[in-house]
């Protein structure tokens, strides 16, 4: 708390946080529409906490106050309702929406270009679905950015974490594919991100990773890590947006713009072209004026190539005398830094696997105890067996002789008698009738499971109804026709209010 206060006082409004909340198509059917009402990815609960709350509280801890939340237009009412009903006192959240549909989702770069006018400072770009581990604080990333920008003109800092090894046997293929880890090349001593292997690169050459010698001669001892995941947390200079404005064809920040941005520092032509944009500092009017000065930028561009050569020699270890240049590079490095996080489980909940995985991860640290509040307590039958590695949301009713193990049960659920739930995730307002069995399932909200139905490793769309006695395995249960279940839905909605 102390640190936060100091920051607010000394460096007011240093960063703006930009959170991008998308549709979460990879999370379908959990994010499929429930009737006419969209199910927001940002509000999808993980361990009964809506996803958006994770990055928000992370931001809060870091002392950043201003948040620009960009979401699809149809999500706006629900999202603003959520944010205002759970006042995060320290954050000023500005919700902006953008017309888009799940089928024609707009790329992150396009969004940033569109809202560039609202971003006037260095910014932190976050996804709505990143769940940081407690061992990773945003402050450490911000500090890295702060020191490196001042010391050698870094333009952005990224955060990567080691991809967790997913056990393929647990999760059926029907749920969708697992996002493959990304290969990155980085320089250890300076923690510089040098190369990101993109799907485009994979298409171009599926056999080999192609690395430029110009990069390898500047960074002769680079590391290639092939099991990394991008947290999509980027701390960027404002000037990065100026470059983005010029690169109209980039669509995805992560897959296109960032890999490109890494190359600016060591590819001469790119550097010459964009150096003057990137190296200008943003907040002062003087730098604004300098940016328009053709004189200063030109002279810089002309000097740049010579400086590179001397620098490449200077970085080598002076084991034996080398023709080194004593001049320190007066030009900004324009590099992209990286923060490599190796301990603690982090994940982006952008597919079903990581959704389930993160839920289970939170269960390992959960210790269930009966609610203390008497009204809540009354809902749980005394003969119900709920193991300690379980999370049960408030106002959920559990009937007698029901056993629940290693599961997350949402809020306002109704669980009947003799129900067995193992290793499952039930979102809010689910109804499980007597004698049903659930094993390794994910039930979207308002799912109704009929009596004595048995589901093994199934995932349901919100509002899905499983017929009594039905026996399903390894399925993705989606609703083809909404008219049938419309009545039940409106009931539950009214209950909700």
């Amino acid at each position: 708390m102390l640190e936060m206060d100091i920051q607010r006082d000394l460096v007011p409004q240093e960063f703006l946080a930009v959170i991008l909340a998308g549709f979460g198509n990879e999370l379908s059917p959990l994010t499929s529409d429930h009737g006419d009402e969209p199910c927001l990815k940002a509000l999808l609960p993980v361990a009964n906490t809506p996803l958006i709350d994770y990055p928000l509280s992370w931001l809060e801890q870091s002392g950043i106050k201003d948040v620009l939340l960009i979401c699809p237009a149809i999500h706006r009412p629900a999202l603003s309702h959520h944010i205002h009903s759970h006042p995060n006192s320290l954050l000023h959240i500005d919700i902006q929406s953008y017309e888009e549909t799940p089928d024609s989702a707009v790329g992150t770069c396009t969004l940033l270009r569109h809202f560039a006018g609202r971003i006037s400072r260095d910014f932190v770009l976050l996804p709505c679905d990143f769940i940081p581990p407690p061992s990773l604080s945003l402050i450490s990333i911000l500090n890295k950015f702060r020191t490196d920008t001042v010391s050698d003109g870094l333009i952005a800092t990224t955060c990567w974490f080691t991809a967790s090894k997913t056990d393929k046997t647990v999760i059926p293929d029907e749920w969708g594919h697992i996002a493959p880890p990304v290969s990155i090349v980085w320089d250890k001593p300076s923690t510089t991100l040098l190369y990101v292997d993109t799907p485009d690169d994979l298409d171009r050459n599926s056999e080999e990773v192609e690395l430029r010698m110009s990069m390898l001669s500047r960074y002769p001892r680079s590391s290639l890590s092939s099991n990394q995941q991008d947290s999509h947390v980027y701390v960027c200079k404002r000037s990065v947006l100026d470059v983005l404005q010029e690169k109209h064809h980039f669509d995805s920040f992560r897959e296109e713009f960032l890999p490109w941005l890494c190359k600016v520092q060591y590819q001469r032509a790119k550097r010459e072209k964009y150096e003057h944009i990137l190296s200008s500092s943003t907040n002062t009017s003087q730098s604004q004026a300098l940016r328009h000065s053709t004189l200063s930028s030109k002279s810089k561009a002309q000097q740049a190539p010579h400086v590179h050569k001397s620098k490449s020699t200077a970085t080598s270890a002076p084991q034996s005398p080398i023709p080194s240049d004593p001049n320190i590079d007066p030009h900004p490095s324009l590099r992209v830094g990286l923060h490599m996080h190796r301990n603690g489980i982090a994940a982006r909940v952008n597919n079903i696997h990581s959704f389930l995985e993160m839920n289970r991860h939170f269960l390992t640290s959960a210790s269930y105890s009966l609610p203390t509040d008497p009204t809540q307590r009354a809902l749980i039958d005394q003969k119900a067996q709920i193991s300690s590695d379980t999370i049960v949301g408030e106002s959920t009713q559990v009937d007698e002789r029901t056993s629940i193990k290693k599961s997350v049960i949402g809020k306002h659920c109704t669980i009947g008698k003799m129900v067995k739930i193992v290793g499952s995730v039930l979102l809010d307002h689910c109804v499980v009738a007597d004698g049903a069995k659930l094993d390794g399932c994910i039930l979207g909200k308002n799912t109704v499971v009929g009596a004595k139905a048995e589901l093994v490793r199934c995932i349901t769309q919100p509002g899905y109804e499983v017929d009594p006695g039905e026996n399903v395995k390894n399925e993705k249960l989606e609703i083809s026709d909404w008219t049938a279940g419309a009545v039940g839905d409106s009931d539950s909605d009214s209950e909700d209010e």
Partner: protein, 830 residues
């Protein structure tokens, strides 16, 4: 725990009993030091007044090697003599050195390794080094690590010693470095990418499959490959099994890493301390000498452990002067830093020497300036001479007021001057015999050239090309210098004096070596490419050649990368290419193009001959196909050329006979017999077949047969109806791109014939049974045979081409069919 340790100790004791063996490949298998190496092998060239081989022995002795096999080929006698005279051969040296003479046919390191295998020299893990190594790395430590690894991993067959340095380290050869891709934990070498300066390697390509098993990988572009390999006994046998391995790195290492069958691992030992470098070229000769003088190789330094057994006095500024008081230094001479002066050498008044090594028994005249040069023993340099960054062989006499510019190599016993001027990078050697009769002639000629040739190196090279050709072919035939070869080479040189702007002086007995690239340079790969070699010369500071190539390449690199960006940096691309790459690339392209064309025409002739034989002798189609494939592989031509050649050969085989029926029979005989060959040459592309047929017929006297041949090909299922349609749609079939002339006319007519055939197909599909001519030029022919043919035609047509029915409806057929098709359409409408 305890018993384990005990057993480990026992093993260690066993290992200590084992003799550590080393194999020195004392032959360089290249010619970079010529003409210095025409009379002495490279390994006996003096570095800081001790032969390279002695430095290598010293390095190995430091590592505790007990038995050394020296594999020598060229000038083997000299090597043997040098070994027997060296201090290591004295009793009590503790090292057994065995010179191994290998056959003259040993052309590469691979051959030498095979020789090691067949002789059964090594019995256990051994150290493999080159004969030009200077090192103070503790190789015994590497051997220990290697043996330790072998205990758990029997597939770890080799450990390469690489030295950590910087990218632009002076002993890191610019033309011949490499990127090592290592596993971060085990230092297993996963990928090896040789890097050449010309053509510049712009990409390192790491196979993705490597990533699967190795999540953390280090990409090292800062390592010096010391060519010290700790090998297991399997290594020579692997060379034996793979007879095509030549280079230790580019072939053997690459082969082992990429092999799916061998499943062997090669590890790297990254030496962080110590010094190791190879004298691979004149540039590294320079840098290694400098490193020795500046004591990076400690304890191997001139004043201590000098491998030649000389004794030097070390004084401030790294000056080494032979300490037996035999050196006579004039009072006013200046000896600069990093200089070594051998015994009995005389330096006269006002001579300035800096950064140089002077051998024994040398005389440096008054007022000389010697900078960064290496002067071997017994050389006399007259007064007022200037020698910069050059290597001067032994027994050379440089007469007064001679200037020798950077990068010159002057062979043993050469006399130059007085008043000679040597251009940069000149190479001189002594003429055979001692008669200097044609000296004056040479000189005159050279003086004459001076004006014309200009100063530019490149131009100079181009001008020389023709004259050098003979000599260079010679060069290529014999891989290394030996006495006879050298003589014949010199003879050639003397017969065809090389144009040069250098002035040799009137007393000179020297011949100038050509500096042009060898003509067949395109065949060689990056490392050995001529331009690459240029970079590796002493004194080459990259001012001319290297910068150019780097500039052009880097701008290309940018543009190619930016190709995905729509606003790509075109302006850089254009300017870069305009200024940089053109002078380098154009000559090579020019040289390449004619040879490519020649190959193709040669190939055509060969195919025609091969098929002629096949037709005449009645080979089977399969045999003919195999022969064609072999030809194609041998001359490396695209498949389409083969197809064209086959089609034209078949067409030409059809005899032109009088009368429609006999002609038709002849066609069906030839096509029936050989038609299927077209699809057996290694790929099936009927559309191309038809185009080839069209193009050939259009320019052949068999043009009138086009329609019939096409029909026959169709009959024999070599082409299908769909293919004819596809061909018909291509713009080339209509004669697009051809300008005027009878050929273009014929091409168009062929297309018209094709149109008619397609019309027929359409009619057949729409069910009409109208008997009609298929070929335009046969329209006047007897109809009855035509009809019977057509019927069979239509049957096969509907059978094979039923899928393309939708293409019908072209409606306006020609001639007889018009009425029928109209009827047909009407009936449909009803």
């Amino acid at each position: 725990m305890a018993p384990k340790a005990a057993s480990g100790k026992e093993k260690l004791i066993d290992e200590e009993d084992e003799v550590l063996q080393a194999v020195i490949l004392a032959d360089s298998f290249d010619k970079r030091f010529r003409p210095l190496t025409t009379r002495t092998p490279r390994c006996l060239l003096p570095v800081c007044n001790a032969s390279l081989l002695d430095w290598t022995f010293e390095s190995l002795a430091l590592a505790g090697v007990q038995e050394i096999f020296v594999i020598c080929r060229s000038h083997a006698g000299q090597v043997k003599k040098a070994i027997s005279e060296s201090k290591w051969s004295r009793p009590g040296s503790g090292i057994k050195i065995v010179p191994i003479m290998t056959a003259k046919e040993t052309f590469s390191a691979g051959d030498a390794m095979r020789d090691v295998y067949t002789r059964g020299l090594v019995t256990s893990d051994f150290v493999l080094v080159m004969g030009d190594l200077v090192s103070n790395i503790r190789i015994d430590e590497v051997v220990r690590v290697h043996k330790e690894r072998r205990k758990t991993n029997k597939d770890a067959i080799m450990t390469m010693v690489v030295k950590e340095s910087g990218v632009a380290h002076r002993t890191r050869p610019q033309g011949d470095s490499a990127v090592f891709v290592l596993d971060a934990e085990t230092s297993e070498c996963l990928h090896y990418e040789p890097v050449s300066a010309y053509p510049r390697t712009s990409m390192t390509r790491i196979p993705r499959e490597v990533l699967e098993n190795h999540p953390e990988i280090e990409i090292r572009n800062d390592l010096i490959d010391c060519s010290i390999d700790v090998c297991s006994v399997e290594v020579p046998s692997l060379f034996q099994d793979n007879f095509d391995y030549e280079d230790l790195r580019r072939d053997f290492l690459h082969g082992v890493l990429t092999s799916d069958l061998l499943m062997k691992n090669i590890h790297c030992y990254v030496a962080k301390e110590g010094y190791a470098a190879r004298v691979k070229d004149t540039k590294s000769y320079d840098s290694v000498s400098k490193d020795i003088l500046s004591r990076w190789t400690f304890p191997l330094v001139p004043d201590d452990n000098h491998p030649g057994g000389h004794v030097y006095q070390h004084s401030r500024g790294n000056k080494y002067i032979a300490s037996d008081n035999s050196v006579s230094l004039a009072r006013t001479c200046k000896v600069g830093n990093n200089t070594l002066i051998g015994a009995s050498t005389k330096i006269h008044e006002n001579a300035q020497i800096s950064g140089s090594v002077i051998g024994r028994d040398c005389v440096i005249g008054a007022g000389c300036i010697i900078e960064g040069s290496y002067i071997f023993e017994g050389t006399v340099i007259g007064p007022q001479c200037v020698v910069r960054r050059s290597i001067i062989g032994a027994g050379v006499i440089i007469k007064e007021k001679t200037r020798i510019e950077k990068g010159c190599l002057v062979g043993d016993d050469v006399v130059v001057g007085p008043l000679a001027m040597l251009d940069s990078f000149e190479r001189l050697s002594k003429k055979r015999g001692e008669d200097d009769s044609d000296d004056d002639e040479d000189e005159d000629e050279e003086d004459g050239e001076e004006g014309e040739d200009g100063e530019d190196d490149d131009e100079d090279e181009d001008g020389d090309d023709e004259e050098d050709e003979d000599e260079d072919e010679d060069d290529e035939d014999e891989e290394d210098e030996d006495e006879d070869g050298e003589d014949s080479e010199l003879e050639e040189l003397e017969a065809n004096p090389v144009k040069t702007i250098s002035v040799l002086g009137k007393d000179s007995n020297a011949v100038v070596w050509p500096r042009g690239p060898p003509p067949q340079d395109e065949d060689e790969d990056g490392i050995t490419a001529y331009k690459n070699q240029l970079i590796r010369r002493l004194g080459n500071d990259g001012s001319d050649l290297e910068l150019q190539s780097e500039d052009s390449d880097s701008s290309n690199e940018e543009s190619s990368d930016d190709s995905s960006d729509y606003d790509s940096d075109t302006e850089f691309q254009i300017s870069g290419e305009g200024s940089g790459s053109s002078p380098l690339t154009t000559p090579s392209l020019d040289a390449f193009m004619p040879s490519g064309q020649m190959q193709e025409s040669e190939f055509r002739i060969e195919v025609a001959q091969s098929l002629e034989r096949a037709f005449a002798e009645g080979h089977s189609v399969d045999n003919a196909a195999v022969e064609l494939k072999t030809l194609r592989m041998a001359s490396n031509v695209p498949l389409s050329r083969v197809r064209e050649a086959v089609v034209s050969a078949i067409v030409e085989d059809i005899k032109i006979v009088e009368g429609a029926m006999p002609q038709r029979k002849e066609i069906s005989r030839v096509v029936g017999r050989w038609g299927e060959l077209i699809n057996k040459i290694g790929g099936v592309d009927p559309v191309e077949t038809i185009s080839a047929l069209q193009m050939h017929c259009a320019s052949s006297e068999r043009f009138p047969l086009f329609g019939q041949i096409l029909a026959e090909l169709y009959q024999t299922d070599v082409v299908e109806e769909d293919d004819i349609r596809a061909w018909h749609k291509t713009p080339e079939a209509k004669g697009a791109g051809l300008v005027g002339g009878p050929t273009a006319e014929n091409v168009k007519r062929c297309w018209a014939i094709g149109s008619k055939m397609i019309e027929q197909f359409d009619e057949q599909e729409s069910g009409s049974e109208s008997g009609e001519e298929e070929e335009g030029d046969k329209a006047e022919e007897g109809d009855k045979q035509g009809e019977s043919e057509e019927e069979s035609d239509s049957e096969s047509g509907s059978g094979s081409g039923s899928g393309s029915g939708s293409a019908s409806g072209s409606g306006s057929g020609s001639g007889d069919s018009e009425g029928d098709s109209e009827e047909e359409q009407e009936s449909e409408k009803e």
